[in-house]
Symmetry: none
Amino acid sequence: MGTKTFTGEFRYSIDSKGRVNIPAKFRKALPETSEDTFVVTRGLDENIVAYSLDKWQKIEEELLKLSSRLPGHRAYKRQATRFATPLKFDSQGRVAIPANLLQHAGVEKDVVIIGMIDEIEIWDPEVLKRYEETEFQLDAEDIEAIDDYTRSS
Amino acid sequence: MGTKTFTGEFRYSIDSKGRVNIPAKFRKALPETSEDTFVVTRGLDENIVAYSLDKWQKIEEELLKLSSRLPGHRAYKRQATRFATPLKFDSQGRVAIPANLLQHAGVEKDVVIIGMIDEIEIWDPEVLKRYEETEFQLDAEDIEAIDDYTRSS
DNA sequence: GAGATTTACCCACTATTACCCATAAATTAG
DNA sequence: CTAATTTATGGGTAATAGTGGGTAAATCTC
């Protein structure tokens, strides 16, 4: 039994039928209870995020704790839910990602799939490159803040 | 039973199928729970770092404490996981290191494998030599700073 | 409801990877 | 010193991963 987590980076292209391969390693990391299904939705960055069905159910539980009276909570809950789609992969391990998600991520032909332990990110290569040059840059202060955060939990 | 830590330096070459030998001493130092598996990823220097599966799982636990809502946390988690790959060595004790990692380390044919107690570094011989002549040089101030650091923990 | 379009399911091909066996050098044991 | 074992290296073969495409069912359009 290897790890049941998502790690590593893979590059694929979308075929003429709009299908994208999911790395075999990620498919194998799916728990039995997720029944060959990932839930994809908009990422907070300009990308697509995919969760195992299990993980998504936990996210739903979290969202249910939010107050439907507070506009901010409603907005967050709506944003997280409205674009979420469960996708079952075919016998060759591919899924067809909805067009509106591809558009949100700026995906045209190629995708980079990144393992993030308990979630998966799907990026357009060009967009990813742009982010690498800007948003991803962390300075010493950022690192320190993260260090404090993990230490205190 | 020797120690369960990684020490010493070894030199190997990559074969025609892209496989590199892992020193027998290091394989034996792997705990049973790591199931003949190392996790390799990009080093902070121009090299490749390998952890025992056990050690990596501890790193993952830390990363899971981060919030996926905070951009800085996401960036940090992404950077730590995107190049990480678990590698199980074959019955002859070899692993196939992904091409993008070899590229990052500037490895072409030969590698130097260095034990770093709880982690392993994999270098291209030429790159290592270059680092030895520059970055590795420590002056009195550096030593003093290290002394303070260890004393305070 | 008939035709057109999309989706789901299946089969096929190729390159890569995983797994196995073999050999030579090095190390250890007696 | 010699035999036995372990280590490092090479290579063959079967299984898997990734990619492309065909066809029938389902959905949509008019």
